[in-house]
Structures are given as C-alpha cells and as structure tokens.
Symmetry: C2
Subunit: 296 residues, 2 copies
C-alpha cells in the first residue's frame, strides 16, 4: 500500500521493546510510514512481535532488517549499539538515516558513529518517555504524546536528515529540542539517571533489612516508598548501560546529591527546624515549575 | 438526628486539614457519627470548614470543641500536640477517647499523655494515607479506602477504647494493625520518612543549580525526577515535625541509605556491570512484593 503522505517508505527497528514497540504502533496510527520491519535479538521476541502485528515484517538479522530502509531506529540496550552498528553498516543504503532512542548520548555516538559508512546520516535521539515496563507487549501508541524528545546531532550532521527525524517524533506527538550530546547527558543525569540510582539504592537498602521488617515495609509502602519501588522496577540491563554510559555526569551529580543529603542530616541532628521548613518550602516551588511546564 | 447504629455520638476534630477533613467526610458517608465538631487554628480555615460543610459545627477554641465529645481526633502538626493536649485536658469528659493521626508515635505519646486526666483513654493512631496536598479543601471521603492504619496503644490502654478506634478506621475502609510505638517509628522511617527526606534533598539539589539548567530539569522532568517533585511538594511544617519527632530512627536509616548509595557509586566508578544488574534485579522483586500486598 502506497501512502503518498508517509514520511518514510521503509522504517527498520533494531530492537522492539517498550520504546521501539510503541514507536511502531504510533507510526502506524499516524500513517507516517509505508512499511515497517523489526529485528529482535531473541526468537521469542521476534515471534511475539509477529503475533502482536505491530510491524509489517520481522527480520531474523539486523542487516536483513535495514536493507532498503530509509530510516533505521536503534532501540536495543546501549551496550549493544557497537555490535548493532557494525552489523548493519554494510547493508545500509546511501542516504539512509540512522537514529536511536537511547537515554545516554555521548557514549552512543562513540559506539555507533565510527561504524557508519559515508553518505549515511546519524541523528542521535532520546524520546523522554517510558514506563517501568519493558518488552514489546508493554508498548502503546500514545506513549510519546506531549513528551519531549531531544536530538543531539553534531554540527556537521545533514540538516535535512535532522529535520526528517524531528518530523517523525512530531508525527507521534512529541515536542522536539536539539542540544549537544554532553549537555543532554548532564541534564538527564539530574532528571532521570540520579533519581533512578537513588531509587535503586534505597529499595536495595530495604532488601538488606531483617525479613520481618521487609514484610512490614512492603505492607506500609503507601507512605512514599511505593513511588521508589515503581521507579526501581525498571529494566536492569538498560539501567546498567545508562549508569556506565553516563558515568562521569552521574558520579558528579550523585556527589552533589550526597553532599546535600549530609547537610540535611545535620539539620535534623541539630534540630534546625527553621532551615528544614525553608528547604521544604523551596522544593515545593520546583513542583510548581514542573507542573507549569506540563501545562504548556 | 439520632443514628442508633452510629459508633460515636459526638466526634471532635482538632485541626481540620487533609486527614481530619477526609475523616469527617468519610465518617458522614459511613453514618458512623451523630454530631461532628471541628476546631482549626486560624479563622480563615474555620470559615472555610464552615463553608465546605464537612462537619456539623465549628468551634473557636479546642476546649469548646471537645466538651461532651466521646471521641477526640487530634490532626494538627505534631509540634502543636503538647499545647493541644494541655488546652483540651480540662474539658474532656470522663471516659472520652483521644486519638490522633500523626506520622510519628513515640514523640506524640511523650507530648500528649502527661496532660490527659485519669479516666480519659489515649489511643495513638496513624492512618497511612495521604496526598501531597494539604488543607480542608484537599480532603475526600475515599482517602482511607483499603489503606493501612497503625494503632500504637500502650499495654495499659483500655481494650474497649482501642477496639472503638479500630472500628472507626474500619468504618472508613482501613485495615488496622497494632504495634508498639518504637517499632512503628522505625518502620515508618523506612517506608515514608527517609523516602521523603531523600526527595526533599534531591529536589533541593536542583534548586542550587544554575538557572538555565533548572529550567531544563523542569522541562525534562518526565524521566523520573517528576516523581520526586511530587513527593517533595508535601507540607513543610508537617515534615519538619516528622523529621524532628522521629530523629533517631530517621538518622539511623539515612546513614544506612547513604552507605548503600556510596557502594553503588563505587560499582559505577569501577564499572562493575554484573553487580549493578544484580542489585537492580533485586529491587524489581521488592516492587513485586509491594504489588502483592496491594492485591491482598
């Protein structure tokens, strides 16, 4: 079927989990693509993607998936990007655009760019959307609606290719920003990576408590801990890759957070109630800022 | 109006914010009380409670509110409990039950018990329910549905009084547990107080960043930080009182959490991917535990 208004004639997804699985559904809903093909690493996932019918065809190898594609979306865990890029490079057609959905960007560029042939355009991207679920079943077409996507092309990247990737994310409902990869990694360390790290850490602390206390903690989790367990239920491999892939920015921000937490401990130890009130009043204002941005 | 099946003939609320305001609504919905009266510290809140019509009458002084009440529910910030207890003590009728809704329990018992006359029964309680909102407008009748309430009576407390408070919380939909106050404070330090402290801390860290970076953090908050800002939007005075009122347990748990966070930093610095995967896999299981408890 030919769609004269489709942005792309053939889109290849390498990896078909929460993000790529949602993107394929959203692209279909938007009528933005003529043919979609997905590759997944395991036979079980490939079978499941076929059953779900979220793409037009499923390939058994990365190179087979990207052959003839005008857009390739890499959506595997970041630690696999180097191997993926090496595998698809020989099969990419001249003028093809390669993008990705990874949560870190400098490490991704280091892993992918050296493999890509001349005439292929690499536009690194990060749709800031997700749930704590993973796998193709977890995807849904509305995932990206009104969320932000950050593209981190280098100054040398073909402008038309960047514009096409931008149009794709806009077609599935996202607002799109561009910034350099280092800046992206620093901002995301604060908004996402360190909050996740802290959630993993505090939930991990609970796993070290005596067993009867653990049971009670789960029972009375409604008091705040529950939110941490939701954040800490995210995909282990993905998050290992993010922490190692954004090591410097994450360690810098954790150090700041730890200093500030120590300051807060001191306020409690010395019972400085006024300073506690001041801090909590200030954090309330940040919440107002977040809500204001969401209403925009 | 006489309700033959009502648990209490006259319930007095000292403080009428999120929790007491919700309880008054829920008690009406359950038909569990004949007359409800509320006292609030400011004229503005008293006027608002009258406008909302969530109680039958509003008193201008704590003593006037509790006169003739068979149940008194203290729901002010914990730091006011001592003054409240001193103010209501002379007006309490013999046999009256006094309970509270505070998030810390040993500090509450220390503040209230010495003021109460013989023949008045004190049953400290903590309904583990809430939102980040505060004030009488934020209350709603369903707040307590299927949540847990912990009562922390001393072994000497009149069993019939404890049973009445239990029946009240059950009437508004809660599951009720009993434990000693020290144990409550230790469990809640983990499930609620330290998660809040960490959320206040990390959101506070953001308020110390350069301004342009702060704006970006709010913009891209969807990645995880957003959940922290919601937790950190809670009432400043209430949380100051909790941290100072449960100082020892909070400091002990923060120390554990900080140690574990340092361990996690080391794993990232030394790029121990396997250990990271192991930790995150373990935290996923805690999430399953929390969900299992909620489905019970």
């Amino acid at each position: 079927m030919t769609r004269p208004d489709a942005l792309f004639s053939r889109v290849a997804y390498i990896g078909c989990g929460l993000i790529n699985g949602s993107l394929a559904r959203a692209m279909t809903a938007a009528g933005a693509v003529e043919h979609q093909v997905a590759f997944a690493r395991t036979q079980a996932t490939r079978d499941r993607v076929r059953e779900l019918g979220i793409v037009d065809s499923v390939a058994d190898a990365p190179a087979a998936a990207v052959r003839g594609a005008d857009l390739v979306v890499i959506g595997t865990p970041v630690s696999a990007y180097g191997d993926v890029a090496a595998a698809i490079a020989p099969a990419l057609q001249p003028g093809a655009i390669v993008t990705d959905v990874g949560s870190v960007k400098t490490a991704v560029i280091r892993a992918v760019a050296p493999h890509l042939p001349a005439g292929v355009h690499f536009v690194p991207g990060h749709p800031i959307a997700g749930t704590e679920q993973s796998g193709p079943d977890a995807g849904f077409a509305d995932l990206f609606q009104s969320r932000w996507c950050v593209l981190t092309p280098s100054p040398a990247t073909d402008a038309a290719a960047v514009a096409m990737v931008r149009r794709m994310w806009e077609a599935v409902g996202m607002h799109v920003d561009e910034m350099d990869a280092e800046h992206h990694d620093r901002v995301l360390a604060i908004t996402s990576h360190v909050p996740h790290l802290i959630a993993f850490s505090i939930v991990g602390t609970v796993t070290l408590l005596e067993e009867h206390l653990q049971t009670e903690v789960m029972k009375y989790a409604a008091g705040g801990f529950r939110d941490f367990t939701r954040i800490a239920a995210s995909d282990p491999q993905m998050w290992r890759d993010i922490f190692l892939g954004n090591k410097d920015a994450v360690l810098e921000m954790v150090a700041r957070a730890t200093e500030d937490l120590a300051g807060l401990q001191r306020l409690i130890r010395h019972e400085d109630g006024d300073a506690l009130i001041k801090l909590i009043t200030r954090t309330r204002e940040v919440r107002q800022g977040v809500i204001a941005f969401e209403q925009d």
